[in-house]
């Protein structure tokens, strides 16, 4: 029997259990007050019975499916001739695969030897037995669970409370999926980074001025030994982020001021959605805009003024990234300004302030924490941004503060390190994890700081 069929049968049993549980509670409801004599509404008794029928059986099904293949393989391997059991784990894996393929009628690599045929027969037999056991066990468990719950039902029985406990558990499980996954990712990055730091000292990574991650793969290969100083990457990131913030913060805040205070309702109703559309453009589109349009313009303008400009200058990437972030800054600042109570604005106007005085002396100072929080979130977005810099910024890890030169960023290097064929145990590959960890820590810190500032600001007026 297929697993899907079995699951459907279990669900059918649970549906039946729901019906019987509800019926029993309705039968037990007596006296003049009928339903009111029950502790919970009849539906809850039904859900309670259904939960007992479904959950234990499903749990057994899940565990069974997880461990069944391992046990069967272990049993087959045990029955193999000594010669085969002595094989290395890799070869043994191949052999087991062959057995499985033969058993299911797929193509088998190599000759079919008698022991393989025996093993395949045994495999088929084991699988069949296991299936039968599973079906009997889970259906039996579902029925037993349902009957057990059904027998518990009395008018005083607190079905609602128990159902709510189970539902609460389900909600917790759902919310922990995201959290546990994140923790898992962070852990894997952390452990790989630790492996990297075993090969390259932390101090060299954090304070080294030279980034050149090419390492020799074979002992006799001619190649650099690799140097992993991350400083050029972080200064490059900082430079591009700085240019981006230099563009986006003034423009974004001025946009927000205009939208919040000066624009007519009509202009606002057009501008706001347009800005939101701008925020929805995929970054890869910004990326080729930066690489194909902005970078040549920057280069041409720079050279006409007598500067030497790299074709993949930090300036081009930073400018485009800044444009990308404008909607974020303006929308968060707009929210912050609008969150200042109207009474504040009226108070300032009633004292004879002009609009600009109201804005500069009352609204902006009151909204400042919110704006700062928004800018911090924008910075962390800029630092983590990948696509634009991959396409528009260079690959050369120059340690420079000149925006006209090519620089590279942490995210770009992570992409380059992991693209293509990699040896997982080389320092080159592992360096990506160390960079990822650093990036994660920096953006996490900025986000925490930003949210903290925003929250502090909210408390002030609510």
């Amino acid at each position: 029997m297929q697993t899907t069929t079995l699951t459907l049968i279990l669900i059918a049993i649970a549906t039946g259990a729901f019906y019987f549980g509800r019926e029993r509670s309705l039968l037990l409801a007596s006296g003049q007050r009928k339903l009111a004599s029950l502790h919970s509404l009849p539906g809850y008794y039904g859900y309670y019975t259904a939960i007992w029928a479904l959950l234990p059986a499903l749990a057994v099904l899940l565990i069974w499916l997880l461990i069944e293949p391992r046990i069967i393989v272990a049993m087959i391997v045990k029955a193999l001739p000594d010669a085969q059991r002595a094989l290395s784990s890799g070869e043994l894996n191949l052999l087991v695969n062959n057995i499985r393929n033969y058993a299911t009628g797929d193509i088998v690599a190599g000759d079919i030897e008698p022991f393989l045929r025996d093993a395949a027969t045994q495999y088929q037999h084991l699988v069949a037995v296991s299936r039968h056991l599973l079906v009997t066990l889970s259906i039996g468990l579902a029925t037993l669970g349902g009957v057990f719950a059904w027998r518990q039902i009395t008018p005083e029985f607190r079905a609602r409370n128990r159902v709510e406990t189970v539902v609460g558990g389900l909600l917790i499980a759902a919310s922990s999926i995201a959290i546990l996954t994140t923790i898992g990712i962070v852990m894997s990055v952390l452990f790989e980074a630790i492996r990297f730091f075993r090969e390259v000292p932390v101090t060299e990574f954090l304070f080294g001025l030279n980034w050149s991650p090419q390492t020799a793969i074979r002992a006799d290969q001619v190649g650099s030994s690799g140097s992993f100083g991350a400083i050029p990457l972080f200064t490059g990131t900082l430079l591009i982020t700085g240019i981006a913030m230099f563009v986006s913060v003034p423009v974004g805040i001025m946009t927000a001021i205009y939208l919040a205070e000066y624009s007519s309702t009509r202009i606002r109703s057009i501008t706001k959605p347009v800005l939101e559309i701008l925020a929805g453009i995929p970054t890869v589109v910004y990326g080729f805009f930066a690489a194909l349009t902005v970078a040549p313009i920057v280069r041409r303008v720079g050279e006409s003024m007598g500067f030497e400009v790299a074709s993949d200058s930090a300036l081009a990437a930073g400018l485009v990234m800044g444009i990308m972030i404008i909607p974020l800054v303006s929308s968060l600042s707009d929210d912050a300004i609008n969150a200042v109570p109207r009474a504040m604005r009226d108070g300032a106007l009633a004292l004879g302030s002009t609009r600009s005085e109201t804005m500069i002396k009352v609204l902006l100072p009151a909204a400042l924490p919110g704006i700062v929080g928004g800018v911090l979130l924008a910075v962390s977005r800029a630092i983590g941004e990948t696509m634009i810099v991959v396409m528009a910024a260079g690959l050369a890890a120059n340690l420079t503060a000149n925006p006209l030169e090519a620089v590279t960023t942490v995210t770009v290097q992570i992409v380059t390190l992991l693209v293509g064929d990699q040896e997982f145990d080389s320092a080159k590959t592992l360096a990506a994890f160390a960079l990822g960890l650093m990036l994660f820590l920096i953006t996490l810190g900025l986000n925490v700081l930003g949210l903290q500032v925003v929250r502090k600001y909210r408390e002030e007026y609510d």
């Binding site: 009474a343 009226d346 108070g347 106007l349 009633a350 004879g352 302030s353 002009t354 002030e460």
Partner: protein, 312 residues
């Protein structure tokens, strides 16, 4: 719910056999509209005798503010209809009436605060000391420096107490140096009766004061600009009785130098602080007279019902 009673009562008066449902619905509607009128009731008033001209005496000696035939529209909503009222210096005029009768709207006409509401439209003329406040040559910003306003909820700026009071003098350039500014701040706080309580913490944030102190801070902030008129929109509705008493005393003192217009829902407060009382009902000015006259011998049936508590 107290404020909603008048409409209910009024309808019953006009239509004693009115069914429950017709009596209920306007009450429900009007509860959601505070400063705006409920159209269906408005029409009924127009048909009733309330549509006749204002009773009592809208004129006064040496008027400082003269509002002639003021109409205010919020979109299609006719919020104030043909209101004429004169206000003299050195007297407190109280505007009373049920919620949504237009008294706050009228108040906001006097310093053109309705300008900031896109849909609001004001017709008629208002003169301040003989000058038309709607004339092109008059800047609303300058007008608001002459006509100060205190709001229902205390709204100190998120700045220090000192900076709150110094805000107005700074933007209007009233002080030439720090000493003058100090002087203005101290005098204003003194006259608002707050100096004693905050003398030693002028640098603390204004938002840290109690509600009553915040409201007096707002009054100090208003008088620091040295206005000619002070408008107060239910200045005590968010305060406890002790703070209210302090503010009322303050109004008494301030009326020596300023014309004060106060919107209030408390009849006792109107009786205590005002020289003249104007009763608004559904966008119309029903009756204006000396405070004593309004509370002891009102001319209009609606006024009488309101001040005796039969409505409102």
């Amino acid at each position: 719910m107290q404020n909603l009673r008048p409409i209910n009562e009024y309808r019953r008066m006009r239509d004693p056999a009115g069914s429950n449902s017709t009596r209920e619905s306007p009450v429900m509607l009007s509860s959601s509209l505070d400063s705006q009128e409920e159209v269906s009731i408005e029409e009924e008033v127009e048909n009733s005798d309330a549509a006749s001209a204002t009773l009592g005496n809208v004129r006064c000696d040496n008027p400082y503010i003269v509002a002639e035939n003021i109409d205010v529209f919020y979109g299609d909503n006719h919020a104030i209809q043909d209101v004429t009222l004169e206000i003299a210096k050195n007297q407190v005029v109280a505007l009373i009436g049920p919620s949504g009768c237009g008294k706050s709207t009228f108040l906001r006409c006097l310093n053109r605060m309705n300008d900031s509401i896109d849909s609001a439209r004001v017709t008629g003329t208002i003169t301040l000391d003989g000058e038309n406040i709607h004339s092109k040559s008059l800047d609303p910003v300058a007008l608001r420096a002459r006509v100060g306003m205190v709001f229902q909820k205390p709204n100190p700026f998120p700045k220090s107490i000192y900076d709150n009071v110094a805000y107005g003098p700074r933007i209007h350039g009233l002080a030439n140096d720090r000493a003058e500014l100090d002087n203005i701040v101290h005098t204003s706080l003194e006259r608002a009766g707050l100096l004693k309580e905050v003398k030693n913490r002028l640098d603390d944030p204004g938002t840290g004061l109690s509600g009553g102190q915040q409201q007096r801070l707002c009054i100090a902030r208003t008088i620091a600009v040295d206005p000619e008129v002070i408008l107060m929109d239910e200045p005590c509705s968010a305060l406890d009785p002790i703070a209210t008493a302090k503010i009322e005393d303050l109004m008494d003192e301030l009326s020596e130098n300023y014309a004060i217009v106060i919107v209030t829902h408390s009849m006792q407060q109107a009786a205590r602080v005002s020289r003249r009382v104007a009763y608004f009902h559904l966008g119309k000015l029903i009756e204006v007279d000396e405070t004593d006259k309004i509370f002891t011998n009102p001319s209009h049936k609606l006024t009488e019902d309101y001040v005796t508590g039969r409505i409102g």
